[in-house]
């Protein structure tokens, strides 16, 4: 027993002390003047799987000359990965250095990780740990991995001043932070959020830990870099909630898309008001919508363009959403106090989920929307094979193979023809095998000349998303590198980039070193042989990368910008949600009549598909998959170009191949009034109409898609909305297509004319698409304002409930397509509504 205990003790000692012994062996008493004072997590850091933590390391210099070192952080259990930053300290000073730590994606929420931070110095060309007074200096701390739920960063306004508890009236709560906490708890999350304290992360990688930002302090908009960071955050799918009762609306102009605007009219004080809720699935009583406050509230009245209003008072927006890039801008104009009410019942017994307040019923949907889908799905999830498929060895060119085989076949044909002519077909039996052997030999010889082993190379896939302004682009790069031998590899980046390496690269240690704000390197002294994946995300500055779209009698003409690396190919227009269409090449760009929907395997018009197009098909299928939520930028033209060259590069010359999928914003030009144009269906957005009957769940408006199956009868209020640039519109003819499968049901489609339904078509058990032209003046007149409201009714089963009970299965119905195209002309609009880019 004693021996067993001794052995166990020795084993535990060996296991626990071995790293320290190794440290000691690595360390050396170097007489360095540097002093590693300590390290602490940054206030705005957040530890989530795959996120980025920010550490502040304090390093002093006790010497008389400038001294340098490298601060290195290592996560326990992830021995092959280090994050580092250079630290150069002037004599006699104590300086603070930021160190970004990339957390692995396979960490489990709730687990603790230990982070060991050391200061390494250079001694005789060897990197050793700093030793002070004979003791290796390193600091470690433990971090709890959090759930990747809605991670909110809050730029707080000023808190109400403190006062004694006995003083009356009692201290008012800090309403904005209480509203955020209440919203998080209402969404089933813990009411935890980070407070930015007047400073925002400026590096792209730092934003990876956050899904939303709440701004209640206007001071943050004084910093141009912060605005740029927010803009990039929005472009990559982040959500920003700006409380316009605290922040003047003119400060947020930089965050808006070109076709959006918001302007403060005035500020009024309200004691009593009634809210109007739109686009809500919840019906509220008048009492629930009426508010009466003892103290007046300041209500900022704004006018806006390009947003979707959820709440309003006397038609003045209270809460609205504006889609910007892949993200959304949430704006509220009513003070946070108005949104809150005391929470009477806590949703969980866990005290971590307790808050004093909850959002009022009229505001809960808006708050829930803000907290929903915290980390949007990446635009292309399955693109990783794209770069992998670029790694390969050369084979004989297709034309040579074609020539050899064509020669073989044509020789045979000639011989057969000739021998048939002279009546000696018997010779074909001898000549044909000879030709076959000669052709085989030629192919084999050609192979020997061409085929060789794999050479070291890099394959890249880039997803470039240009901001609506066309001035910046976010590049997500997925790459694969192949090397035949173990060697030292270094990936250098001269821009703000976040670099990831496949965790399977575990030989030696991969270290990411931030040498400057915008410069970083990834080093591995023993990069293993084989195929390895790595990726990076970065933003690049661009200039006017906007597609200008013009509409005429035949459809849409898209003019490409000139700043692309190579001419764009295989373009798909995604203008209205859920309706991507294939574009065909034209002078200076592309054109489409909007009828060739891009779906399934259909992404190109080419009759013969190349290998590159096959790879592109996989990416497009993933990007536009009907099962994905989000990811596709509407109002964009997707297409393929050559690689964008700004990304990280290896320290040695490696042949690089690849393609970039670019999403360019599309700006639609207003046609000349009076000139007839064809509005393709892909430009017409289908929206739900908020009416007394409520909104249908069969149609997902944001994605423009219908749900797969419905069982119950339904009456759906929908509207076709023309792009704003085409209104007012005088329609001459409308073309509607309805593809619905509704066996044993009656389907009725009607247009709303002055509030009354006017039947367009009635179908009995439809299964094939129906197309119809509408020329009735009263229906066409409805399009003048740019929208046509329709009712789509699907009846119960022909046999009623009894049929459902008796049948072996339920009989669902589903809509595959409901679209509208229009022919007509744009009318002259008033000058007040004329946009900058509109024609005079």
């Amino acid at each position: 027993m004693y021996k067993l205990i001794c052995r166990l003790t020795a084993t535990v000692f060996a296991v626990t002390m071995m790293p320290n012994l190794l440290f000691a062996l690595q360390s050396a008493d170097s007489n360095s003047p540097l002093v590693f004072r300590g390290v602490s997590p940054d206030a705005i850091g957040r530890a989530i799987p795959g996120g980025v933590m920010v550490l502040n390391a304090a390093v002093g210099n006790a010497g008389t000359e400038e001294a340098s070192g490298t601060i290195v952080a290592k996560i326990s259990g992830v021995e092959s990965w280090e994050n580092a930053t250079f630290a150069t300290v002037r004599p006699g000073e104590l300086e603070q250095f930021e160190l970004l730590i990339q957390l692995p994606e396979d960490l489990l929420p709730g687990d603790y990780i230990d982070i060991l931070v050391s200061l390494m110095i250079d001694v005789d060309g060897r990197e050793v740990r700093l030793v002070n007074d004979g003791i290796p200096v390193s600091h470690s701390f433990r971090v709890l991995i959090e759930e990747p739920v809605n991670a909110v960063l809050f730029v707080s306004d000023e808190e109400p001043s403190a006062q004694p508890e006995w003083m009356w009236p009692p201290r008012r709560p800090h309403a904005s932070s209480e509203l955020i906490a209440a919203g998080l708890v209402d969404a089933g999350q813990a009411p935890d959020f980070a407070v930015a304290d007047g400073r925002l992360p400026l590096r792209l990688a730092e934003w990876n830990s956050y899904s939303s930002l709440v701004v209640a302090d206007p001071q943050i908009f004084r910093n141009a870099a912060a605005i740029d960071a927010m803009r990039q955050f929005l472009a990559t799918g982040g959500k920003i909630w700006v409380m316009l009762d605290r922040v003047p609306s003119d400060l947020i102009v930089g965050l808006l898309a070109p076709d959006q605007a918001i302007e403060t009219v005035d500020t009024v004080e309200l004691n009593q008001f009634q809210l109007k809720v739109s686009r809500s699935n919840v019906r509220l009583s008048e009492a629930e919508l009426t508010e009466d406050f003892w103290q007046p509230l300041e209500f900022t009245r704004v006018v806006q363009v390009g947003g979707v209003v959820s709440l309003a008072i006397d038609d003045w927006p209270v809460a609205l959403r504006m889609p910007v890039g892949r993200g959304q801008l949430f704006l509220t104009t009513l003070p946070a106090e108005a949104w809150l009410q005391p929470r009477t019942e806590q949703p969980r017994t866990d005290r971590r989920f307790h808050t004093r307040f909850t959002a009022k019923r009229w505001g809960s949907q808006f708050v829930m929307e803000f907290n929903a889908h915290p980390f949007p799905e990446k635009p292309v999830a399955a693109e990783r094979d794209f770069s992998m498929k670029l790694i390969g060895s050369p084979v004989i060119e297709r034309q040579w193979v074609a020539m050899a085989l064509a020669l073989f076949c044509s020789s045979l044909m000639i011989v057969v023809g000739w021998k048939a002519w002279v009546g000696k077909l018997i010779h074909v039996g001898l000549l044909a095998p000879m030709f076959a052997l000669v052709a085989s030999g030629a192919l084999w010889l050609a192979t020997l000349g061409v085929r060789r082993d794999l050479v070291d190379q890099v394959g890249k896939f880039q997803l470039v998303q240009v901001a609506p302004s066309g001035a910046t682009a976010i590049v997500r790069e997925q790459a694969t590198v192949y090397q035949s031998n173990v060697s030292s590899m270094q990936l250098n980046s001269t821009i703000d980039a976040r670099i990831n390496v496949d965790r399977s690269v575990s030989s030696s240690v991969s270290r990411v070193v931030a040498t400057d704000f915008h410069q970083s390197t990834l080093k591995n002294a023993n990069w293993p042989a084989g195929v390895w994946r790595y990726g990076s995300t970065y933003s690049v500055q661009s200039q006017d990368l906007v597609v200008h779209a013009a509409i005429d009698q035949t459809g849409l003409k898209l003019t490409l910008p000139t700043g692309l690396p190579t001419p764009m190919e295989d373009a798909i227009l995604a203008y209205a949600p859920g309706f991507p269409v294939i574009c065909s090449p034209a002078a200076n760009g592309f054109q489409t009549d909007g009828r060739l929907a891009a779906e399934g395997d259909r992404w190109f018009t080419d009759s013969v598909v190349s290998d590159e197009q096959r790879r592109r098909t996989e990416v497009y299928s993933s990007l536009f998959s009907p099962t994905r939520q989000g990811g596709v930028l509407t109002g964009s033209l997707y297409g393929w170009t050559g690689l964008w060259q700004e990304g990280p590069e290896w320290n040695r010359e490696l042949p690089t191949s690849g393609s970039a999928l670019v999403a360019l914003p599309v700006v639609l030009r207003r046609p000349e009034p009076g000139r007839e144009v064809l509005v393709p269906p892909c430009l017409v957005e289908l929206q739900q109409v908020d009416n007394a009957a409520g909104m249908t769940t069969a149609f997902r408006e944001n994605e423009g898609r219908w749900i797969d199956e419905s069982m119950m009868a339904a009456t759906m209020a929908l509207q076709f909305v023309l792009p704003r640039e085409l209104t007012p519109f005088e329609a001459r003819e409308l073309e509607i297509e309805l593809a619905i499968r509704a066996p044993q049901r009656q389907v009725r489609l009607a247009a709303m004319v002055d509030g009354e339904p006017q039947e367009i078509v009635q179908l009995d058990s439809p299964s094939v698409p129906w197309r119809g032209r509408i020329t009735k003046p009263e229906i066409l007149r409805q399009m003048q304002t740019g929208s046509l409201e329709v009712r789509l009714e699907v009846s119960e089963l022909a046999g009623g409930e009894a049929q459902i009970d008796s049948a072996t299965n339920v009989v669902p119905w589903n809509v595959r397509r409901l679209q509208l195209g229009a022919r007509g002309s744009v009318l002259t609009s008033s000058n007040l509504a004329t946009l900058d880019d509109a024609s005079p």
Binding site: D385, M388, K389, I391, G392, S393, P394, V395, I396, E397, R398, V401, A402, A404, L405, A406, F408, M413, V416, K419, A420, L425, I426, V428, G429, A432, P433, A436, L437, A439, S440, L443, W444, A446, T447, L454, V531, L596, E599, G600, D601, R602, F604, D606, S607, V608, V609, S610, D611, E612, R741, P743, Q744, S767, V768, P769, T808, N809, V811, P812
Partner: protein, 555 residues
Amino acid sequence: MQLENLWNNPVFRRELFGRLKSPKLSFAILAVATLSAGLVLLRWPTDGNIDIVSQVAVKLFRPLTFALMIAIMMLVPPFPATSIVAERRTGTLTLLLNSPMPNWAIYFGKFASNLAIAFLLILISLPALTACVAMGGITFGDHVVPFLLVLAAMAMQYTAVGLWISARSQASDASLRATYACVLGLSIGSLGPRVLSGNVSGPVADLGRWLSSLSPMAAWQQITASQGIVADQVDASGYMEFLVASALITAVFIFLTLRKLNPIAFERPRPPQKMLDATSPSMGWRRLAYLVDPQRRKAGIPAWLNPILVKEFRTRKFGRLHWLLRLVAGCGIISLFLTALAATGTVSWGVERIAGPLVMLQLALLLLVGPSLGANLIAAEIESGGWQILRVTPVSPARILTGKLMSTVWTMLLVLFATLPGYLVMSYIQPAMSGQVNSVLISLMVAALMIVSISACVSGFCKTTAVATLTSYALVLTLFGGTLLVWLGRGQPFGPLLVERVLALNPVAAALSEMQTPGFELYNLIPLAWWIGSGLSLLAVSILAVRIWFLTRPT
């Protein structure tokens, strides 16, 4: 020495040279060469690079080898299947067997000549197979040579089987049919027990595994490392097992055929004629069984009936009542089979899985019956001289046209309706499918219409029935099968838009897409395919009408 003996074998030389002189062999050589070369070119990488992920070489090797196997299955059996029976029909077999040559020398002369032709066809595919090797990932040792061995074994096996059946048959066409049926049974049918018993242990599964060794499919899957359901099912046997099984089967059939090639065995007495007493009580049963007497005198044609229609039914083999009744009975059996298939398949596998085979079965029936009926309409009249009689009758060209067409249409409808119960069962099990079933039926009607009208149109321009039938089959198969071949090449190399446009020519593809058959579910072919199909039919009928009008004019 052995080779010299073989070369000096007069039967071998006669058979080999006789076949080498045949244009059919030259055509087969060209077909194999162009097919294999075309497949290679369709799948060859366009960017001059072969990646490490996609296994492009295997993706090329797999369809190429499959096509070559099918080619061997189709091209090898005809000669041995007709070789001995043709000798017997012409009377030369008795002369041969009574010649100084031993019967084994006669047999091996025929056997070796057929093998030589098969090897010639295999050799023609060598450039394509070398191209696969050139791509990398495919080697001669692991892939090409084993596959060539499998092809050689197939050729030997099918030759031995064909010669055995030929030695037992009385007619060439019967021998050919039986040989093809046997080849089908050996290659596909032998997999059945294994597929049905599943990948489990036990005596039944062992038997299934042994039987699956007879099929070259299992060997092919092992060589090409195919993945999939069938591959999982037949994983127990590989190409070595096939080679052994094939050698055994070849040896058995050689032995059986050699036993059969006995001059005495051919001297069979003719079965004696039987005289029946019409008054005997046993004739009662015969009268009941022969309710429809084909020899009975027919009633007059009513005025409201098109006489051409009636004439067609009365003169055509499948138009006569007793044959129609047989056809109805056959269709009834097929219908029952399809219904059972639909019922069990819909419940077990889902509509998408079962609807495809159901539609394809119907197409096969339509393709089998349609062109042979349609191609006879005018050509047979011209060939037999009946057209001259028609011309002198007061029947108008329009009445001739409608009568001829309707006689075929009714028969086709009969075939089509026989398959309806399957869909009714499907609609009952999944009521949501009722709309789609309607669309499928319309598609099949359009397909039937196309087959009839195109065949009839071709018939109007041919002087012999054989040419008309061959041309009709070629045209209809090109339309229905060719479009499906383009579909098979979807994504590599054919673009989806091209595939969709080509499939719009084929109403059966529209039916498959409507039933959401895997691979077709993405294409929107309805109602475009209906319009195109109807338009083509209308065009064909219009051309035929003009042609009939010309033909009825006095020369």
